[in-house]
Symmetry: C2
Subunit: 392 residues, 2 copies
């Protein structure tokens, strides 16, 4: 029998008290909740014969998302990575540009930049929100960037900095209002990576609707799923038109001719996946309620902890609590790894924050700010099981 340190024993006790024992079957980090309603709508889609890139569920899914998020225009696509690639391409990111992203994010944020032929430029995170730190970014840009005509230039690399991509980590909104001020100062558009934050708001305004455009993900591990899927949100009608055009091979309307006016993509979400998405969105409020219940339980269980703190939603925001997160009071990578090993051995499929992107081999030479907070977060955060059904 392994003898664990005190924090590990406490961690396991909290998980057991909130989730019950997981010794017979493992408890996933986040799994989809699919029921009769989903079966019915997907069957309806199959019966219609319209399963591919055209169909009424796509429009319906986009309209539902528009209503939920308040975004005037929504374009459903195959996944969140492609959504971010297309969003960045559409706001004018070109090969050789740099794009500001947090080092603490899923690798897709950096890959989408690279898919434009651009280079991620890593910025630090905020200790409380876990998202980009606007104050640190202002200071960093002030020291490395200069305006040249319409462009902001990284004086160290000579490259244009083209956009800022904040990410709402684990569903917790970052300080978007502050970031908007920084973006204005430096004349950069914001493209919001809201892949994890469907249902999360700053005040009453939904994440993903603050920037020039924003993106969502509906991967199987997200709050709702379409199997694979993503969406782009924007209030800008001409940008929406451009994105829709580029997502469907830039084909011009014609009864039969195949006229395409630019190099474009095949990124539209199939109607089959949208049908699942429509059913899932009908249940979004239920999922969010259950996830909040679960978050409250974790929060309560950690009230008197000496080793951990529950990462709650930042002030003035509503989080979807996509992934519930514990923070080690004393950041310690070895301890974090012991917690992961111990909890997974007991069947609780906990996971750490992502390895920092600037430390991955393909991005280790990318430009970056000082990243002390990201390093602290890496050594202190642990995600615990967060499926909606665990809070029902």
């Amino acid at each position: 029998m392994t003898t664990y340190d005190l924090p590990t024993r406490e961690f396991l006790e909290v998980l057991t008290s909130v989730l019950g024992p997981a010794e017979k079957s493992t408890i996933a980090l986040h799994e989809p909740n699919i029921g009769d309603h989903e079966h019915k709508m997907v069957a309806e889609c199959l019966s219609s014969g319209w399963v591919s890139s055209v169909g009424e569920f796509i429009t319906r899914f986009e309209n539902q998302l528009s209503k939920i998020t308040g975004a005037k225009h929504v374009i459903a696509v195959v996944n969140g990575t492609c959504a971010l690639h297309l969003a960045l391409h559409s706001v004018g990111i070109n090969p050789g540009d740099e794009v500001i992203i947090p080092s603490l994010s899923f690798v897709a944020t950096a890959n989408a930049v690279a898919h434009c032929g651009a280079i991620p430029h890593f910025a630090d995170s905020d200790l409380t929100t876990l998202g980009l730190d606007p104050t640190a970014l202002r200071k960093h840009l002030g020291s490395v960037a200069t305006r040249r005509g319409d462009d902001l230039i990284n004086t160290k690399t000579g490259r244009r900095i083209g956009a800022i991509v904040p990410m709402h980590t684990f569903g917790h909104p970052m300080q978007i209002d502050e970031l908007i001020l920084v973006a204005k100062e430096f004349g950069l558009p914001i493209v919001e990576d809201a892949a994890e934050s469907l249902g999360s708001c700053v005040g009453k305004k939904h994440t993903g609707t603050f920037g020039r455009c924003g993106i969502l993900s509906f991967n199987g591990n997200k709050t709702i799923t379409t199997g694979g899927g993503g969406a782009i949100l924007t209030d800008d009608e001409s940008l929406a038109k451009k994105i829709r055009h580029l997502a469907t091979t830039a084909k011009l309307a014609h009864d039969w001719e195949f006229l395409h006016d630019q190099t474009a993509f095949n990124y539209r979400m199939p109607n089959l996946n949208a049908a699942l998405g429509c059913a899932q969105l009908d249940r979004l409020d239920e999922f969010l309620r259950h996830k909040r219940n679960l978050a409250n339980k974790y929060d309560k269980a950690l009230q008197n902890s000496g080793s951990f703190e529950f990462v709650g939603e930042p002030k003035g925001t509503t989080s979807n609590y996509w992934l519930n997160t514990f923070r080690l009071t004393n950041p310690n990578l070895a301890m974090r790894n012991e917690l992961l090993t111990a909890s997974r051995a007991k069947g609780y499929l906990c996971r750490p924050a992502w390895n920092l992107l600037h430390q991955l081999p393909m991005y280790e030479n990318s430009p970056r700010a000082e990243l002390p907070v990201a390093q602290i977060l890496l050594s202190s955060l642990i995600n615990v099981p967060s499926s909606a059904n665990l809070g029902s």
Copy 2:
């Protein structure tokens, strides 16, 4: 009442004789055939809860495709465009390279090249097979290309030519054996665009399995559909491993760490779509039989025509007859357009061949061979309704 020319009157008579009248509801060019079997398997997938990027239907779909095509390795992805992009990237196509493709193809063939940062280099088609003409390509490469070390260089542009992408037009196999000889002479890998030719063989060997790798598409208009989907076929184990790795963010196996060793993609087919695909593949023989019946009917109806010829499968090959094709005996673009207008007005949703890719604005400055045959084909080909159910 419009008075039509003789060929148009004949065209409409043939369509009516083979398909029956279409005056109440239109007859689509190609629509999916989805029945109880598809409903059952998709429902099974939903009930399992595994709808996303991992699941048993993905493996099953890949295994079924492997059995049908004879390819040792199959990687299912989100669509045919992404399949071709990933295939080209994986065989080493880099930004600034050129890739030989037919000018007569769907725009996705050229876009996938462009997504690598590469430049399509257009070659001419064969009058009989409708695919790349190996003899014309040999002559063209002989006049513009020269070896420099390991590379084949376009002497006019100074760029490396990195691969040849033949495409099996409308399901008819092109002269792949001849092309292999040309590819060997010039030291180029072949990446087969078999998007349209699931079920089509040269001798007994399936299209898409002759090159270094090949790709399939399962878009809604194809012989079988997964909603949206594609696959990469290869016999090369290390290439297959590389492709699978690159399709899933190049993540290294680890219980919890997020280690990714290169810039990669999120291209895997969701399990939900694979479930539909498994059911459709179970019915592939039925679809192919019905499509061949329909082709035989069209062929027979055109036996004594003075204006048209039916485009049959090339000698020594088996076509899936994805899209049945009529050829105007006297190529004439105005006449082709009259045929399209007249047939569509009657509810038969015929379509022409694709506008030639070298004439689209984004590719008009791309390098190219002389393209006289592509131009003739553009003026003479018409696709007629081809859904499997029309031949049942």
